[in-house]
C-alpha cells in the first residue's frame, strides 16, 4: 500500500502522536518513512522520545502512601461488613 509523503512540518506536528502510537497505520508509516530519510526530523523525534520518557519516569515515581492505602482498606472493611 502506498502512503502519501509528509514534509518536515507535518512530521514535527505529528511526532508526539507517532511516539504515543496514536496515528493510523498509514500515517505512522508515512512518518516512519520521513524519519528514515530526514536526519533533522529523526533527531527531533529522539528529543521528543526522551522528553516523553522523562515525563513518564518522573510522574510514576509518585506512589500512593502506605498509610492512605491502609486507611482505605480499613474503611472498606468497615463498609463491607464481615472480616476476612
Amino acid at each position: 500500500m502506498s502512503t502519501e509523503p509528509v514534509n518536515c512540518d507535518e512530521t514535527v506536528a505529528l511526532l508526539h502522536d507517532f511516539l504515543k502510537r496514536e496515528l493510523t497505520p498509514e500515517s505512522a508509516r508515512a512518518i516512519r518513512r520521513h524519519l528514515d530519510a530526514c536526519r533533522h526530523c529523526a533527531q527531533h523525534a529522539e528529543l521528543e522520545r526522551r522528553f516523553l520518557e522523562l515525563l513518564e519516569r518522573s510522574g510514576r515515581r509518585t506512589r500512593c502512601p502506605d498509610a492512605l492505602r491502609a486507611r482505605i482498606l480499613d474503611a472498606l472493611r468497615e463498609l463491607g461488613g464481615a472480616p476476612e
Binding site: 514535527v12 508526539h16 502522536d17 504515543k20 496514536e22 533533522h40 533527531q43 527531533h44 529522539e46 528529543l47 521528543e48 526522551r50 522528553f51 516523553l52 520518557e53 522523562l54 515525563l55 513518564e56 519516569r57 518522573s58 510522574g59 510514576r60 515515581r61 509518585t62 506512589r63 500512593c64 502512601p65 492512605l68 492505602r69 486507611r71 482505605i72 482498606l73 474503611a75 472498606l76 472493611r77 463498609l79 463491607g80 461488613g81 464481615a82
Partner: protein, 189 residues
C-alpha cells in the same frame, strides 16, 4: 446494610491496583498531598458504594478516574476558582528543538533533569493542561479515553497536550540552561 464480603473482594481486586494511579492524578490535580489523600479516599468509598453499578469486564480504571475527577470538580474547583484555561490568548509555544539543534539535537539533557524538577514544572501548568499530561504521559491513557473522561472532542485533548508539552519542554529547557546542562543559547531560542 453492609455489602456482602464477595462484593468487597471483587471491588478490591478491580480497584486497588489503580490506587497509585488515582493518587498520582489526585496529587497533580490538587497539588496538595493532604487534599490528594482525601480525594482518593473519598473516590474509593464512593466507588465502592456504587460498585453494583459497575459493569464487570469494562474499564475499571476509567470508571475510577471519572469518579475522582467529579469529586475534584465538585469540591475543589468550585472553591478555588483557579483560572482554568490559557489556551486561547497564549502565544503558540515553539519547539525547543531549534534551540538545541547545534548542541544537543537528541535532547540528552533531559536525562540529567531530576524528577522533582519535572514534577514542579508539571505543577506550574494551568490545571487543564496538567490534567491531560498526567492522564496521557504519566498514566498512559489513550487520547480517546481522555476525551471521554473530560467530555471533550479528541481534537481538544490533542491540542491541549501539544501546548502543554511544549510549555513543559520550555520550562525544562530553561532549567537545564540555568543548571549548565546546556550551553547558553546564542540569541533567543
Amino acid at each position: 446494610m453492609p455489602a456482602p464480603v464477595a462484593d468487597r473482594r471483587s471491588f478490591e481486586e478491580e480497584a486497588l491496583p489503580h490506587l497509585d494511579g488515582l493518587y498520582r492524578v489526585a496529587l497533580r490535580l490538587t497539588r496538595d498531598p493532604a487534599r490528594a489523600e482525601d480525594l482518593v479516599q473519598e473516590t474509593m468509598l464512593r466507588a465502592f458504594r456504587a460498585w453494583d453499578r459497575f459493569t464487570p469486564g469494562t474499564n475499571a480504571r476509567a470508571w475510577l478516574f471519572a469518579i475522582l475527577r467529579n469529586g475534584f470538580i465538585n469540591e475543589y474547583r468550585r472553591m478555588r476558582r483557579e483560572p482554568r484555561m490559557v489556551e486561547l490568548d497564549a502565544a503558540e509555544p515553539g519547539s525547543i528543538h531549534d534551540a538545541v539543534a547545534d548542541t544537543d539535537p537528541e535532547g540528552r539533557f533531559f536525562s540529567r533533569i531530576v524528577d522533582e524538577q519535572v514534577l514542579a514544572a508539571l505543577d506550574d501548568l494551568p490545571p487543564d493542561f496538567r490534567e491531560v499530561v498526567v492522564l496521557s504521559d504519566v498514566e498512559g491513557l489513550p487520547y480517546a479515553e481522555i476525551a471521554e473522561l473530560l467530555g471533550v472532542p479528541v481534537g481538544t485533548v490533542k491540542s491541549r497536550l501539544f501546548r502543554a508539552r511544549r510549555l513543559l519542554q520550555r520550562a525544562l529547557y530553561d532549567y537545564a540552561v540555568e543548571m549548565g546542562y546546556l550551553e547558553e543559547p546564542r540569541g533567543t531560542p
